[in-house]
């Protein structure tokens, strides 16, 4: 059995795949589109249109940034309400043109800040759940690092969710979980085990559609991601819209 805490460490490793790398290597072209159209643009979410296997797709990624300045502005990859609203807007735009949507997630969660509360963090996530839940176009998400709570779910509520081998998805970080339930953050490893946050156990629980192997160089890993996404997208694009939406409803209804 793999040690869950090892998965957590790998999911957080600083030298793992970055959103920037994924955008650059999965899409032959990428045009970034900014803004939530309600007064703000959150740099922790990067979105736009990219070319994937010869067709235009809407691409949305969380973004941690590289330089310290960037990382601070992006709150280390924790989106603000404007980020979720940007994502929701881009998904709606994509649906208008039947353009598939690919989302890439690596976030500890939605940013817990004062301004984020005032700007309606809860409402913004609910908006994503609604707009992504309803959009009439295929939507696939991939977690490639941390998938933290509602902030990750907001971007993972489409037709399929895949996880990289070295990634995690949980209702709360193991540290947070241990400190809330046992008032002892040092019991994180035990919490990680109990939470079942590894791709392996999430696949068993049918929370995700599959696990993407991470072998070889980063570019080899990207080729593997591309292979999986191309295959899945082709399946989803064959479905009539009504079956696509029913399938999406049932995907969450079973829980």
């Amino acid at each position: 059995m793999t040690d869950a805490m090892e998965t957590v460490r790998a999911a957080r490793a600083s030298d793992k795949l970055s959103a920037h790398y994924l955008r650059a290597h999965l899409f032959s072209d990428f045009v970034e589109l900014h803004g939530d159209r309600q007064g703000a643009d959150d740099p922790a979410i990067v979105g736009g249109i990219g070319l994937f296997a010869g067709q235009p797709v809407t691409v949305i990624t969380t973004s941690r940034g590289h330089k310290l300045e960037e990382r601070l502005a992006k709150h280390f990859g924790q989106p603000e309400p404007a980020g979720y609203r940007k994502a929701a807007r881009l998904v709606k735009d994509a649906a208008r043109f039947k353009r598939p949507v690919l989302l890439f997630i690596d976030t500890a969660g939605a940013f817990p800040g004062k301004e984020a509360e005032y700007a309606g963090q809860g409402q913004a996530i609910a908006q994503c759940l609604t707009d992504i839940g309803q959009a009439q176009t295929p939507i696939i998400s991939v977690i490639f690092g941390e998938g933290g709570s509602g902030g990750a779910l907001a971007l993972a509520c489409g037709d399929e969710l895949w996880m990289m081998e070295n990634s995690m998805y949980s209702v709360l970080s193991p540290e947070g979980f241990a400190s809330i339930l046992w008032k002892d953050a040092s019991r994180a490893a035990e919490a990680a085990e109990l939470l079942g946050l590894t791709p392996e156990s999430l696949l068993k629980g049918q929370v995700i559609e599959g696990v993407i192997k991470q072998e070889g160089s980063k570019s080899a890993q990207c080729r593997e991601i591309a292979r999986v996404l191309e295959e899945e997208l082709a399946k989803l694009q064959k479905l009539p819209v009504s079956s696509l939406l029913n399938r999406r409803y049932e995907r969450f209804r079973k829980f």
Binding site: G113, E117, G122, L129, Y249, F252, R253, F255
Partner: protein
Amino acid sequence: MRLFEKRNTISERHVKANKRAEDLVPSGLMQRCPNCGLEFFSSRLDKYKTCPDCDYGFRLTAKERLAWLCEESEEWFKDIQPSDPLHFPNYEAKVAAGKKKTGLNEAVWTGLAKIGGQETALAIMDPFFIMGSLGQMTGEKLTRLIEAATEKRLPIVVFTASGGARMQEGIYSLMQMAKVVNAVNRHKAAGLLYLVVLTDPTTGGVTASFASEGDITLAEAHAMVAFAGRRVIEQTIHEQLPKDAQRAETVLKHGFIDRIVLRQEEKGTLAWLLKYGGMQDD
């Protein structure tokens, strides 16, 4: 009890002034409003349980609320039992305590009700059942209610009260957010009215899902309405959050709530909105 050894003419002012009040006052005699700090005799709390000074609504069990909210009600889905997908240690005891405190099978009462003559599907979350947390079966009861309401073409009223996701159920708790929101959206697509009343406290995953999806969103006076917890925010931004930052009145000012309602007026307001807030063709 020393209180009764003396002349029994104690007033609220005396209790507050007396440093030995704790010894003098039988427990349960006095209440302290968590919003404004007013101390007052419990006897001044009626069935609505609101602060005599600031109108804050004390937390109610779903059944306490049900008693004054509707003329008639019929409980649905009361045989569903909480799940334990993670086999969480000591979880059964927590569930049993929640059941005992609330008389419910899960953290939400669901059923059919008549509010001021208006028939509606009704859900009331109970903050005394594991903090009103959103367990798998909490979400299941809500979803079944919403699906039934869509089928029977009924409006829905949801009273939210929740500490957020139910940690003991891990990711399966998180999935409820999407499950319930999807059901709400089918109900909306059918042209039906979805009303939300935010009560103290509405937080976390519930705020980030069906609590924020109302066609009309009411909130009780001074109810805490938040996404992230105060402590988490303060540790993140390294400053203190203003006292009222997560109160309904502040959230209203930022545009996420339609109106604050006093508990005493809730029934009338809901009846009016149920009558006039949705489609007028039937």
